[in-house]
Symmetry: C2
Subunit: 524 residues, 2 copies
């Protein structure tokens, strides 16, 4: 057994079921080892940003890490933006980055670069493997680190010569073989912290409970809903949840807005803000003369739980302390009517709300085309909503790909802006290759509309013609029907609300990937 085989075997033994791969020469022994470990499914991606984004989507839905297989520093670089998003999502994820053989690096071959420095910028755990007999343990340690709590990115850098060298323990696999995953327990929140939060929420002063991380779904969210119903506190969630449970039968949650001014309006008048898995709200960007810290000055922040702490346990304890068994308000089933007339960001949202299937996974990179989506889908059948956690666009198509791999029985709907789609568009090929049930709606407004808005806002004035040209995607227009077909994904265009709703219904009804090029006007 060589090092590559022991590493792949150990990943599988540690519960890793999928590896999103974009390998190169230095990873060939790892690729060869995949044939010996059929429990680990290899999914080919044509670009590393697709592999890392897919691993993010997988980890958000599966709650355990997928692996990636990346080729040296440049491969890691190509995957970096979606690793950034995964880091912000607290997604468990294991990167295996191949490196040159240890003795080859000093020759400074063409692909040599500082992998460790780049990897450290996104990794909560980083190790450069240095002994072939330790590779199985390295892999197990990486999985344990990725699982957290909370989830994090674990990166293992693997020199090629360790991959192809035989391990010394392979004749005696039962004796002293390293590789058990030691999962770190979540830390329980102290009772006085719970009591302090309960007192704040019951103070009679305006209060809100802000959930983030793992508190945006499941038992934690239900406990939060009960707390809000019993205390009258508002139930908020962070601007970019990794995975927000929504729909009929789920407690209603008010998601914080993106523009700083809108968040300030949402938080105005609050005297107490209780945080459960969320950081104090800040604006995504600074603007001249606008505050970045969005907590009102006379609002007291109470941290109920964060980081490695047991969010669900803390919220359950807070629920017990505040509501004595009372139930949460839950959203009633309600759908908009199928829209008619012009296709716009608004009618698109009604079409989605009218048709969203039960247990759907919605990957939302709709950006400026998205403002009507929360309202239009609030009463749809129960679903999960995955957002652009780190702000690095190009996340949607890959995350949808990985979510579909994690949940083959659930329909995935990816709402993707045209500009963002072009960063990682080859994810469509992987969807076709793996026959994943993903419906992609590209919101094709022919512009970087978000930047048009930001330009006016930040630069405080009407942009000039040369600045405007940098926000214009219409010369030539992008034809996503052609682009999708070129990668084997059936596609059609929709230019009216009726066309869109029909196309969406067809795409959701069919298995396998489909794309709808939804032509909408830009909202500025």
């Amino acid at each position: 057994m060589n090092g590559a085989q022991s590493l792949i075997r150990s990943l599988a033994d540690a519960g890793v079921e999928v590896c999103f791969c974009n390998p190169g020469t230095s990873e060939m022994h790892l690729v060869a080892a995949l044939d010996l470990v059929p429990e680990l499914r290899a999914v080919l991606c044509l670009f590393e940003g697709v592999a890392t984004g897919a691993a993010d989507g997988y980890g958000r839905m599966a709650g355990r890490p997928a692996a990636t297989l990346l080729h040296l520093g440049p491969g890691l670089g190509n995957g970096l933006a979606n690793l950034h998003n995964a880091r912000r999502a607290r997604t468990p994820l294991v990167n295996v980055v191949g490196d040159h053989a240890t003795y080859h690096k000093r020759l400074d071959p063409p692909l040599e670069s500082d992998i460790d420095a780049v990897a450290a910028s996104v990794s909560g755990w980083l190790r450069r493997a240095d002994a072939v007999d330790d590779l199985a343990a390295d892999a197990a340690d990486a999985v344990a680190a990725a699982l957290g709590p909370p989830g994090r990115i674990a990166t293992l850098v693997l020199p090629a010569d360790l991959a192809w060298t035989d391990v010394s323990w392979s004749d005696a696999p039962a004796v002293g073989v390293p590789g058990a995953v030691e999962v770190v327990e979540q830390v329980a929140v102290a009772q006085e912290v719970v009591a302090g939060a309960a007192a704040a929420l019951r103070s009679g002063e305006p209060a809100a409970l802000l959930v983030g991380g793992a508190a945006t779904r499941g038992e934690a969210l239900r406990a939060a809903g009960r707390i809000a119903a019993a205390t009258g506190a508002r139930l908020l969630c962070e601007t970019f949840p990794a995975r927000l449970e929504r729909g009929a039968g789920v407690p209603p949650v008010e998601r914080l807005a993106y523009p700083a001014e809108a968040v300030a309006a949402q938080l105005a008048g609050l005297r107490h803000l209780v945080l459960a898995g969320a950081a104090p709200p800040v604006s995504s960007f600074a603007y001249p003369g606008v505050a970045g810290d969005l907590v009102p000055t006379d609002c007291q922040v109470h941290i109920l739980a964060h980081g490695p702490e047991d969010l669900a346990g803390a919220l359950t304890a807070l629920s017990d302390a505040t509501c004595a068994g009372a139930g949460a308000q839950l959203l009633a089933p309600e759908r908009p009517l199928p829209p008619t007339g012009a296709l716009t960001a608004e009618t698109m949202a009604y079409g989605v709300g009218a048709l969203l299937p039960e247990h759907a996974i919605v990957v939302d990179e709709a950006n400026t085309s998205g403002p009507w989506l929360p309202g239009a889908t609030a009463g749809a059948p129960r679903h999960d909503w995955l957002t652009l956690t780190g702000g690095a666009i190009g996340q949607g198509l890959p995350v949808a790909t990985g979510a579909a791999v994690a949940c083959p029985d659930r329909p995935v709907l990816c709402l993707e802006s045209d500009g963002s789609a072009m960063y990682t568009v080859s994810a469509l090929w992987t969807q076709a290759h793996e026959d994943l049930d993903v419906t992609t709606v590209v919101l094709n407004n022919g512009a970087y509309a978000v930047l048009d808005r930001e330009l006016r806002r930040a630069a405080a004035g009407e942009p000039g013609p040369r600045a405007r040209e940098l926000l214009d995607l219409s010369r030539p227009g992008l034809d996503f029907v052609d682009i999708a077909r070129g990668m084997g994904v059936p596609a059609e265009r929709a230019t009216t609300a009726e066309e869109f709703t029909r196309a969406l219904g067809r795409a959701l009804a069919e298995p396998g990937p489909r794309l709808i090029d939804a032509v909408v006007p830009a909202l500025v």
Copy 2:
């Protein structure tokens, strides 16, 4: 005048004529400033890897830096692989990376990450701007650093609040305005070094002159040709030249091969290897039991010139010392006949050789489909050949884009593998947007053929079915005609040598971008 305006103004004053842009919110003041500085042409790219690769292609052809405009750490990450290639090409290049406002970073907003660590991995010069009044000088220093010698990547990180703050010297622009570009002179090579190299080449023992960097073209290459003709030394060039001048009327140069075994055969028997701008040959990757240092053990290495030294001056001096005015052997005009029959890597090469226009710029990422290209084009009209300097695939389409911006009067031919094309395929949109005269030939063999070869070689055996699946791009096949049309580039498919030659002739005759999806069998 705000900081952004002073920076853009200073870049233009320092001779930067083009900025390849993929901006975000934190760069909006820079975008707005472009309207005030029309000398700096902004070229929109839909992905940062296109912007950095285009800046590489521009810098290789123009000999002076283009700028890039990148959005925070994730934008830099997306551009990193082609910055790696540019670093290996010694291309002058100036990155401007926007960052959060200085006071905003401590809030850890979603897009915050360690820009400096990532930038340092590819930059020969790195500065974080910290005073608005210094931005003009920062920009000039970056340009000076990029110019080298030799060329390098200079990265300036610009916090948003410096961009929008007014400079204090704007009312008195003639007094104390910083911003002059102080270009570092090339170091002359000592006469005894030249004499040593001359003695080696005239020793009567087998000898070769290996050129790299700026010695692969122009006067330096002509001097190298004279030296080879006069001394009988072989004239070699590095495996991956940034820009190799070739064709009729140019001295013949034997390019080092990619496989280590082939290079070993090329260098076998040499007793002297004189290096001019090239490093001692090493293999791109290590393989079990194969040496990585490819210089024969009994071969003496003589470094004539490298790094910041005056390559052309050193080679001219060496020419004067060895050949007393004798001329170089120059390649005679010679073209293959237009090919007929099946379209293969071989007949594709003859089609290129038959039609390559004078002054063409060939961007070569043909990889495994490329072995017949050097022979088929050796006697074509004079042209430049740009290669994958850093080994990070996805370089071809962007480099072709930038080369076309740098040289609007020269035809650009991009020979691109299918797998590599998918990394940065949105470069086609920029070619359409800017109406660049680029003919792209995608060598569509439906496979990562290079990895099939490497897998057998590295893993020493027949790959299993799961490993082979990771090298297969044929399920579904990529249709580059559809993909190109989706981005506004006219395209057609060629499946025979005749179809290919006709399509290539048409594409080269037409202005603006064209793509040929050339279906060829994989060579394994």
